[in-house]
Amino acid sequence: MATTESWQIAEIAGPKKATLIVKPEVADAMIKRAKHPVLIVGHLAAEIDLDDKKMIDYLLELAQKGNLPVIATGHTNRDFLKRGFTKAKIMPAVEIGQRLTDPEWKGIDGKEPYDLAIFAGLPYYMEWTILSGLKHFAPNLKTMTLDNTYQPHASWSFPNISVKDWIENLKSIIEKVEE
C-alpha cells in the first residue's frame, strides 16, 4: 500500500505532500545529513506494541544511537523515566510546533535552529495538524515522521505500512544511524 493516502481517510492534504520513505536508507540519510535534528515523541509511543517491545523502546534506541536530542510531549516523559532515560525535555506538542516556526529559535540546547524534526507517537490527527503548521510556516525546517501511517504534511513519511514492515524499517534505521 505504498500510496500517498492519508491514514485517516478524510485528512486529505493539498498539492504538496510528503515524500515516501520507501527504504529505511532514505530516513537514515536525512537524519545523518541534518546538522541539528530533534526527535519528538508523543504518548502513543508508549502504548503501541511492536512485538515484545513498545514503540518508545525503538525510538529511545534510535535517539541514543543516533545521538538525537529528545522532546517528550504529553506525559511521555514518564515512560522514558521508566526506562531510565532522563534526558528528554518535556514540552507540549503545540509548543514545540510553534517554536519550530520561529527561525530565530535556537532549540532546547540553545545551539542553533533545528533543521530536522522527527515526529512519532502523537495522535494521528494532532501530528497531522502540527506538521501542517510546520509545512506552511517553517519553510526552513524539514520534518519526518516515523509512525507507520502516511503523514502528508511531513517532508518524509512512511506510507501506511503494516506493523511487521514498520518494525523492520525501524530496526534497519536504528542499525544504520549508528554507522
Binding site: 504529553g74 506525559h75 510553534q98 494532532m126 495538524t129 502540527i130 506552511h136
Partner: protein, 786 residues
C-alpha cells in the same frame, strides 16, 4: 454603535399589534432607568464597535502569537478558487495562509455566536410573548444584584425587564452581521485584525449567552444562583421503560417545558417519562427535577437505537441530522420544533393537535414540524401515550451471538478505524469479537463518541456502533448517575467571599469545564479532571456536555462528583452552572470579582475589566471535547477577557493556537499601576489557547495557567505547589521552568524549598518585585494624577 446605544435610552411604543393582542402606550425605558437608577459612570466603550477594542486585542495577540495549523492547504470560499495557499502563495484575491486560517476561525466564531444570539432572540421573543416586555429580569433573587455582568460590561446598560434585552440583541445582531461580512472575499487582509475580530465575535457571543440564560432563568423560574440546586438523575438506565418515554434533544427548552407543563396540567407527570439529551435536557431539569438526562450529545445514537424513546422531539443545535432516519428505524414518531431545523417535514403548526397525533400514530406522517411549543407539548404527550403500548420497543441492539456472527464478516480492511475520529482499534476488536471475545469491543464504548463514521465506512455494512454499544450492555445498565441541576449565576455574596482569595492566589484557581463531547479518550477524563481539581480546592465549574460527562463517574461508594463536592462557588466546589448558554455565568463571575470585590467600574469599561481579570483572576477554561462552532465562539469570549482556554488534541483542528513564549523574557513585562514601571512577571498565564495531547498534559497546564502576576507570595506558593506536584506525579519530574514563576523567595512552597532553590541557582534566577499589574498605560496612577 451609536444607533443602538441611542435606542437603548428610551423606546416608547404607543401601539403594539401582534398575534397575541394589542398593547398601547408601552414604554421600554432602559436608558431612562439607567440614567435614573444606575449611578455608575459610563466607561469608554459601551456598545463597542468591531474595532473599538482592537488595541486591547493587539496587546494580547502580541504576547500570544497565533500558531496556525492549516486544516486544508486550499481555500474554497469563492469561485475564483480553489486556491492553493501552500508555500506562502497568495490566493486569487491576494490572501495568504495566515489570514485565511484566521478568517476561517472568524467564520466559525460567527456561526457559533449567531447560534447563541439567535437562540437568545428566540427565548426572549417567546418569553415576551408569554410574559410581556415588562416582566422583570431576576436571575438570582436577592443574592444577585449584578444581574447581568457581561451585558453591563459590554453594552453599558443595566437590563431590568425582558424588553430591555431586545435592545441588547439588536446590538448583537448588528455586530454579528458586520463581523460575518468581514469574511467576504476581499475584505480584511491581515491575520491579526481577523483575530481581533474573532475576539469581538467571542465577546458578543458571551453577551448573547447571558441574555439567553437570564431570560430563561427569570421566566421559567430555574434555580436562581442556587448552590443547592437539586440533584437529578442521569444515565441510560435511569429511565422507567415501562412508561411511555419522550426524548427531547437540543438546546431550546420551551417545547420541553410545554411537555412538562402539559403533563402537570393533565396530572400525567407520573405516567410519562421525559428524558433528554444535550442542553435541552439540562435546562429541562432546571425546570423540573423529574426530567431525566440521558447524556451529552454523543449519546444520541446509542439512546435512540436502544429503542426506548417512544417519541422524539428535537429543537435546535447539536442535533444529529440523521435522527429522523434513526427514529424511523425504531418506529418512533418525530417532532421538529425549530425554524432553524425543519428537516423537510410538513409544517403542521396550524393543525389541531389531535389531527397531528392521529397522523403520527398512524404513521401517515413519520415526522412533523410544529412551530408552537404549546402544541408540541400536547402532541408529544398524546402521541407518546398512544404509540407506547402499540410500538414494539424495537431496539436495534444485538445479542452476543449476533455480534459474533457480524464480526465474522469483517474483512479487516481497516476503513472503520481510518474513518474513526479517534483512530479507535475497531479492526482488532472486531477480529477478537469474531473469535468470540466481545470484551475488547465492549471496552471501546468508553472511548467512542458515537459518531457512526465507522459504520458509514464499512464495506461489509457491519453495524459497528451498534456492536460497540451492544457489547457494553453491562455498562449501559450501570449508567445511573446524579448531576446537580444547573444553578445559573454566581451569587454576589459568593463573589465577595472568594474574591480576595482568588485575586491573591490563595484559592489556586477557577477551572471551568465547558463544551462538547469530542473527547480523545472518552468522557471519564472530564470527570477525573474535575475531581482532581476539586480535591485540590480549586473552584470547579461545569456546563453543557462537559457538565454531563463530569457526572458519569462513581467512586467506590457509588458517589458521583456532584454528590462528593458541594455546588458552592468556593474552593472545592463543583458548580454546574447549566447548559451551554449558562457558561456565561462563569465569565460573569470573573467579571463580578472585578466589579463587586475590587469595585472597578463595570459599565462599558471592557478594557480595564479584561485587564483586571487577565492579571488577577486565575481562571482557566477547559473544553476537553470542544468540537462545535459555538465552542469556538465561547473560547474566543474567554480570550478577550484574558482567560486561557485548554482544549483536547482535536482542538488543533480549530486552525490555530495562541501561545506565549516563556523563553522570550521581553514578552512578559507589565506596568506597575502604582509606579508606572515596567516589571517582569514571568510567563503568567503562559498561553491563551492551548491544545493538550493528553489529560495529563492538560492537568499540568491548567495548574500552570492559573498563575497570575497579581498572586501574593502565599498564593503563588499554593499555585506552584499544585503545578509542581502535578508535574511530578504525571510527568515524573520537577518542572524545569518552575523558576520562571518564582518572583521572590517567599513564593517558593516550603515543602519544595530544597528542590527549587537548587533549580533557581542553576538557572541564574534573580528576584523581581510583585507589581500591581496592568497592561494598560492608562491604568497607571501617576503621581498627582489620581
Amino acid at each position: 454603535m451609536e444607533i443602538l446605544s441611542r435606542k437603548s435610552i428610551n423606546i416608547k411604543i404607543k401601539e403594539l399589534k401582534s398575534d397575541i393582542g394589542n398593547i398601547k402606550d408601552l414604554e421600554l425605558s432602559i436608558g431612562k432607568f439607567s440614567e435614573e437608577k444606575w449611578t455608575e459612570a459610563e466607561g469608554p466603550t459601551p456598545f463597542p464597535s468591531i474595532t473599538a477594542l482592537r488595541e486591547w486585542d493587539k496587546k494580547l495577540l502580541d504576547r500570544y502569537k497565533p500558531f496556525y495549523l492549516p486544516f486544508c492547504d486550499l481555500c474554497c470560499l469563492c469561485t475564483y478558487g480553489k486556491c492553493d495557499l501552500t508555500g506562502n502563495k497568495r490566493g486569487a484575491c491576494g490572501i495568504h495562509m495566515s489570514a485565511q486560517q484566521s478568517r476561517t476561525v472568524l467564520l466559525a466564531s460567527c456561526i457559533g455566536a449567531a447560534t447563541h444570539i439567535s437562540h437568545a432572540r428566540e427565548l426572549v421573543t417567546y418569553a415576551i410573548k408569554k410574559f410581556g416586555t415588562d416582566y422583570p429580569l431576576d436571575p438570582g433573587g436577592l443574592a444577585v444584584e449584578v444581574e447581568a455582568p457581561i451585558i453591563r460590561l459590554v453594552c453599558g446598560v443595566k437590563p431590568e425587564k425582558l424588553g430591555d434585552l431586545e435592545t441588547v440583541l439588536d446590538y448583537l445582531e448588528n455586530q454579528l452581521t458586520q463581523l460575518l461580512s468581514v469574511t467576504h472575499t476581499g475584505q480584511e487582509g491581515n491575520n491579526l485584525d481577523f483575530e481581533s475580530k474573532v475576539f469581538h465575535a467571542g465577546m458578543i457571543d458571551q453577551v448573547g449567552m447571558e441574555v439567553a440564560d437570564i431570560a430563561q432563568i427569570s421566566v421559567f423560574g430555574f434555580p436562581k444562583a442556587d448552590p443547592d440546586a437539586p440533584l437529578v438523575d442521569l444515565g441510560m438506565s435511569v429511565v422507567d421503560t415501562k412508561k411511555p418515554v419522550i426524548l427531547v434533544i437540543g438546546h431550546n427548552v420551551p417545547p420541553a417545558i410545554q411537555i412538562i407543563d402539559y403533563l402537570k396540567d393533565k396530572r400525567l407527570s407520573e405516567e410519562v417519562e421525559v428524558t433528554g439529551i444535550c442542553c435541552t435536557a439540562i435546562d429541562a431539569t432546571r425546570y423540573s427535577s423529574k426530567v431525566k438526562i440521558i447524556g451529552p450529545m454523543s449519546w444520541q445514537l446509542r439512546y435512540i437505537r436502544s429503542g426506548i424513546p417512544d417519541v422524539i422531539v428535537v429543537d435546535e443545535q447539536c442535533i444529529r441530522t440523521d435522527n429522523l432516519i434513526e427514529a424511523e428505524k425504531i418506529r418512533a414518531p418525530f417532532i421538529a420544533t425549530s425554524e432553524k431545523n425543519c428537516l423537510g417535514l410538513p409544517d403542521r403548526t396550524r393543525d389541531s393537535a389531535d389531527d397531528i397525533v392521529a397522523d403520527l400514530v398512524s404513521r401517515k406522517n413519520l415526522g412533523v414540524l410544529i412551530l408552537d411549543p404549546e402544541k408540541v407539548g400536547e402532541v408529544a404527550v398524546k402521541t407518546a401515550r398512544a404509540v407506547a403500548p402499540k410500538r414494539k420497543k424495537s431496539r436495534t441492539s444485538l445479542s452476543t451471538e449476533e455480534i459474533i456472527e457480524q464480526a465474522k464478516t469483517c474483512n479487516q480492511c481497516k476503513m472503520c478505524r481510518r474513518s474513526c475520529p479517534n483512530d479507535l482499534h475497531i479492526p482488532d476488536s472486531m477480529k477478537a469479537a469474531g473469535k468470540g471475545n466481545i470484551g475488547m469491543i465492549g471496552d471501546m464504548y468508553e472511548e467512542c463518541i458515537g459518531c457512526a463514521r465507522c459504520e458509514q465506512a464499512c464495506p461489509e455494512t457491519i453495524p459497528i456502533h451498534n456492536i460497540i454499544v451492544s457489547a457494553a450492555t453491562q455498562r449501559t445498565k450501570n449508567e445511573s448517575f446524579r448531576i446537580r441541576a444547573g444553578r445559573g449565576a454566581i451569587q454576589d455574596i459568593e463573589i465577595r467571599k472568594v474574591g480576595g482569595p482568588i485575586v491573591l492566589g490563595e484559592i489556586p484557581g477557577i477551572v471551568a469545564f465547558v463544551g462538547c463531547s469530542n473527547y480523545p479518550k472518552g468522557g471519564k477524563e472530564v470527570a477525573e479532571m474535575c475531581i482532581e481539581f476539586a480535591r485540590r480546592r480549586y473552584i470547579v465549574c461545569t456546563s453543557g456536555c462537559a457538565a454531563m460527562s463530569a457526572a458519569m463517574y462513581k467512586n467506590e461508594d457509588g458517589k458521583t462528583p456532584y454528590e462528593l463536592f458541594p455546588g458552592t462557588f468556593d474552593a472545592g466546589g463543583i458548580v454546574n452552572v447549566g447548559s451551554c448558554v449558562a457558561n456565561s455565568h462563569i465569565a460573569g463571575a470573573a467579571v463580578k470579582i472585578a466589579s463587586i470585590f475590587a469595585r472597578r467600574t463595570l459599565r462599558g469599561n471592557y478594557e480595564e475589566i479584561a485587564d483586571y481579570v487577565y492579571n488577577r483572576v486565575g481562571a482557566v477554561g477547559v473544553a476537553w471535547g470542544a468540537m462545535s462552532q459555538k465552542a469556538a465562539a465561547i473560547a474566543s469570549g474567554f480570550w478577550r477577557l484574558g482567560i486561557p482556554v485548554v482544549v483536547g488534541p482535536h482542538g488543533t483542528k480549530y486552525r490555530r493556537m495562541l501561545l506565549g513564549r516563556a523563553d522570550r523574557e521581553q514578552d512578559w513585562y507589565v506596568h506597575d499601576r502604582r509606579s508606572g514601571e515596567k516589571v517582569y512577571v514571568g510567563p503568567v498565564p503562559e498561553h491563551l489557547f492551548f491544545a493538550a495531547e493528553t489529560k495529563e498534559e492538560a492537568m499540568v497546564m491548567i495548574a500552570k495557567l492559573c498563575m497570575r502576576p497579581n498572586d501574593t507570595s502565599k498564593g503563588r506558593a499554593i499555585k506552584l505547589t499544585h503545578y509542581i506536584d502535578l508535574h511530578r506525579r504525571l510527568f515524573g519530574t520537577t518542572p524545569d521552568d518552575a523558576h520562571l514563576f518564582v518572583r521572590t523567595l517567599t513564593d517558593i512552597p516550603i515543602t519544595m524549598k530544597e528542590d527549587l532553590t537548587k533549580i533557581l541557582r542553576e538557572k541564574g534566577w534573580k528576584e523581581t518585585i510583585i507589581p500591581d499589574p496592568t497592561l494598560l498605560v492608562n491604568q497607571v496612577e501617576k503621581r498627582g494624577v489620581r
